[in-house]
C-alpha cells in the first residue's frame, strides 16, 4: 500500500480541502472517540483496539478517496462502523458465541399468550407523569439505562446498540449476526423487557 504523500516538515498534512492524511494525527485527535465507539459495541478492549487499528489502516488506504465533504471524525467513524460489524459477524458465527446467542433467542415469547400480553403492561413509574418523586429526568434515566445495559448479556447489548444507536433494521442486524430478523426481534424484545424490569417496571398483573 502506498502511503499518501506527506508534506514537508513535521506538521500533519492537510489537503486543500482539509483532511489530514497522517494516521498518527488521527490517533491523537480521534483515538479516544473511536476507541470508545468500538468498545461500546464490541465490549472487549482487545477487539476495540483491533477495530480502531484496522480502521486507521483502512483510512490510510482510502485517504485519497476522502473528498472532505464530511468531518474527518465522521468519515473515520463510518469506516470503523464497518470494521465493528465485520468483527461482530465473525464473532457470532464462531460456534461458542453462536451457542450463547441462540440460548438468548430460543423458546416462545414469554410475554405473550395467544398473541396477547400475558400481563397488563404499565408505563414505568419513573417515566409516568404520576411518578411523583420517583420520576426521573431524561439524563438520569439515560444513565440508569446505560448502567442496566452494562449488566446485560453481551449479545443483547450489541443488538440494542445496533438497533437504537446505529439505526440498523432487524434484517440488517440478523445478517450481521447470522440469525433471522424474527430472532433479532425476539432478542430486542427480551432486551427491552429486561431493561423495563431492571428499571422498576415489573408487571403487576391484570388483563389488558
Amino acid at each position: 500500500m502506498k502511503r499518501p504523500p506527506k508534506s514537508a516538515g513535521s506538521e500533519p498534512q492537510t489537503s486543500a480541502i482539509g483532511p489530514t492524511v497522517d494516521p498518527e494525527v488521527w490517533l491523537r485527535a480521534h483515538g479516544d472517540a473511536l476507541y470508545a465507539y468500538a468498545l461500546r459495541r464490541l465490549g472487549s478492549e482487545t477487539d476495540a483496539e483491533d477495530a480502531v487499528q484496522e480502521c486507521l489502516l483502512a483510512a490510510l488506504g482510502a485517504a485519497r478517496r476522502f473528498a472532505g465533504d464530511s468531518a474527518e471524525r465522521t468519515w473515520l467513524t463510518g469506516i470503523l462502523k464497518h470494521k465493528v460489524l465485520d468483527m461482530l459477524r465473525a464473532r457470532y458465527r464462531r460456534k461458542d458465541q453462536a451457542g450463547s446467542l441462540q440460548t438468548l433467542m430460543e423458546g416462545q415469547m414469554e410475554d405473550f399468550s395467544g398473541g396477547l400480553w400475558r400481563e397488563r403492561q404499565q408505563v414505568l413509574p419513573i417515566l409516568s407523569d404520576q411518578g411523583g418523586a420517583a420520576r426521573m429526568e431524561r439524563a438520569e434515566f439515560a444513565r440508569a439505562v446505560a448502567a442496566a445495559m452494562e449488566r446485560m448479556p453481551e449479545a443483547m447489548r450489541v443488538v440494542l446498540v445496533l438497533l437504537e444507536v446505529e439505526g440498523l433494521i432487524t434484517a440488517e442486524i440478523g445478517e450481521a449476526l447470522g440469525v433471522s430478523d424474527s430472532q433479532v426481534w425476539t432478542l430486542v424484545h427480551r432486551a427491552k423487557a429486561r431493561l423495563r424490569r431492571e428499571l422498576g417496571g415489573e408487571d403487576h398483573g391484570g388483563a389488558s
Binding site: Y35, V52, R143, V145, L160, I169, D181, W185, S208
Partner: protein
C-alpha cells in the same frame, strides 16, 4: 375498483392485529419492508389497547435513552499502552510502504 376490493383485507388486518404482532411492527417501524397497513394497524391497535400503549411509551423512552447513550455516559479513554502500541504499528505499517 381494485383499491376498493383491497380495502376489506386491510381493514380486516388492522382490526384483527394482536399485541404480539403490534410489538413486532414497533421493532421494525423504520424498516422499508414494513407496510403502511402494518403501521396504521399498530397505531390503531395501540390507541385501543392500554397495555400496548404503555409498552410503546416505555419502549420509546428506552429507545431514546439507548440512542443517547454516548451523550450521557462517560466514554472510556484509550489506555496509554494501547495508544503507544497502535502508534508503533502504524509507524511500522507506513515504513513498509
Amino acid at each position: 375498483m381494485k383499491r376498493l376490493l383491497a380495502l376489506p383485507a386491510t381493514v380486516w388486518y388492522v382490526l384483527t392485529l394482536q399485541c404480539e404482532e403490534a410489538d413486532r411492527i414497533r421493532a421494525n417501524f423504520s424498516d422499508p419492508a414494513t407496510t403502511r397497513a402494518q403501521k396504521v394497524g399498530e397505531q390503531m391497535h395501540s390507541a385501543l389497547c392500554g397495555s400496548c400503549r404503555a409498552a410503546r411509551k416505555t419502549m420509546r423512552e428506552i429507545s431514546d435513552a439507548v440512542g443517547d447513550l454516548e451523550q450521557h455516559s462517560p466514554a472510556q479513554p484509550m489506555p496509554d499502552g494501547v495508544r503507544e502500541r497502535m502508534a508503533q504499528r502504524l509507524r511500522e505499517h507506513s515504513g513498509h510502504d
